[in-house]
Amino acid sequence: MINRIYRLMDTKRIEMVLREIPFTKGDVLVRPDYLAICAADRRYYLGRRRKEVLNRKLPMALIHEATGTVLHDPGGRLKAGEKVVLIPLEPENGNQGIKGNYRQGSKFASSGTDGFMRDFIALPHDRLIPVGGDYSVIYVFSELLSVAIGAIQAFETSCRIDKNSFGVWGDGSMGFVMSLALRCLYPDAKIYVFGKTARKLHKFSFATKTFYIDQVPPGLIFSHCFECVGNSGSEAAISQMMELISPQGCISLLGVSEDSIAINTRTVLDKGLYLIGNSRSDAEDFKKAVALIRENEICRRYLQILISEVIEIKTENDILHAFEQDILNDFKTVMKWSI
């Protein structure tokens, strides 16, 4: 079948290419409905990756956050018209003791292989999660939520002290979803959010309290924290976390940084801290994320607030417009895929 793939060829240059879909027997054919732009997509689009990375990975279709409609399932497990969330991870069939998203041979859409900016996507059945009856645009945030849930799962396996209070650093989309996941899964816990921008922090109305990073009141302490800052801000954020966190607390790292970050290991040793790395998510995290959206009204309501803009895509120019708008938007830019 002929497919159209919208690939980033170079900085700010997206072009359509025509390709025959390599249709593996049994794959389910899906048409994307909603695609959300992630910070990683934005970095590629703006050329803010190292030159050798860009040379190696481009041309490549961006986007790994997507929902879609099933067009055809030769295996008959999914019905035509059924709404699904797409899983970007293609796990390597290696050591089953290691989570799929950490196996070094796993592939990930929009990082080395084409992402979801295509007219159709052929995926194995187990990379699609049916949404159920109340389908809406917010399911496009399942990937982001699955990363937060994966981080919480990892935290749970290392946590040695109480889970009564959490600090989340980062007032962007990841910080929002991380804080929201904590709010939904630990409804009685105190959730403190740390950021720099007033208009962004105002959106965290479900948090116990929000703070500017330079106006933290003395004496504030919490059990665990989650870093959702990334880039050059990571270093200062981690340093501040280590100052405020309780001994034996967990610091979960989620922010991606292009550069190496200095960490004061003396404090890590003194306080007996746990540093947990988190990246991406696997199918189990996705299932939990979709279930949380489906079953938790608080989650559904607040995810709606995460949308900065929904842009209908009918032409290649609309795609460029969406990426340009995303640079200006505080939170998520969603593309309604009508191309």
């Binding site: 002929i2 035509a80 007219d119 191309i339």
Partner: protein, 238 residues
């Protein structure tokens, strides 16, 4: 019901391959017509598909269809006419005789030799036909259009900004289309002499709106087009 009519009745004289009409020639790993059909197989709005084939190639078309997964879509092969207007008329009559025509039935007619059609074009055609009665797919011309009655002297250069090149699909509310054809035939029009159905349709006092096509929604008519189409599908370095 939305019917797709796939126009595959041409014999491909311009392809210089008299052994096989162009719609059956391979593009990538499949015949051109199968690529085209697949875009209609997967569109959830399309109900039934009717393919008009040349008389002598009807059985071959049926064999070809049997070899590929139609993804649950019902397909019917009928014999086409001498030109596009007669072929679409044959589809209208076949639908009328087989199922009858309901007021909300739609026919989206598309050239078999335009395999790069997009889902957006199909959906926009159906939406527009439902709103305005009929839709035609068009793109702005890149070249200025010249009018010459004898092919030697230039008679006219129409303003570039109002010139469009027609593609397919053409989409009609079926009942209105049948009326327009019946009226034209009753008025003495010979369908084999009228090459443009939209002309006949708007002459009957109907409206037809334009849907934006794509330059890539190209027609594969001659060997050069086929080479370009095959090249478009190949992986290449930037």
């Amino acid at each position: 019901m939305i019917y797709a009519g796939i126009l595959a009745a041409g014999l491909g004289v311009r392809m210089h391959r008299l052994d096989m009409p162009k719609q059956f020639l391979p593009l990538g790993n499949k015949p051109i017509i199968i690529h085209t059909l697949e875009q209609f197989f997967i569109n959830p709005l399309i109900g039934r598909i009717i393919i008009v084939a040349p008389d002598s190639w009807k059985i071959y078309t049926e064999d070809l269809l049997a070899r590929y997964d139609s993804m649950g879509k019902e397909c019917f092969v009928i014999i086409g006419g001498r030109n596009k207007v007669e072929s679409i008329d044959a589809i209208v009559r076949y639908i009328d005789e087989t199922w009858g025509i309901a007021d909300d039935d739609v026919l989206i007619a598309h050239d078999a030799i335009r395999p790069f059609i997009t889902q957006r074009i199909i959906n926009d055609n159906i939406d527009s036909a439902r709103c305005y009665g009929a839709a035609n797919t068009a793109i702005m011309t890149n070249d200025a259009i010249l009018v010459s009655k004898d092919g030697f002297l230039l008679d006219e250069v129409p303003p570039h900004e109002i010139m469009y090149a027609e593609q397919t699909p053409q989409t009609y509310m079926l009942a209105m289309l049948k009326n327009a054809i019946d009226k034209a035939v009753a008025g003495g029009v010979k369908l084999n002499e009228e090459n443009e159905l939209p002309r006949l349709y708007i002459k009957a006092g109907n409206r037809m709106c334009l849907v934006r096509g794509e330059y890539s929604n190209m027609k594969i008519i001659n060997p050069y087009d086929l080479e370009v189409a095959n090249a478009l599908l190949k992986e290449r370095k930037v």
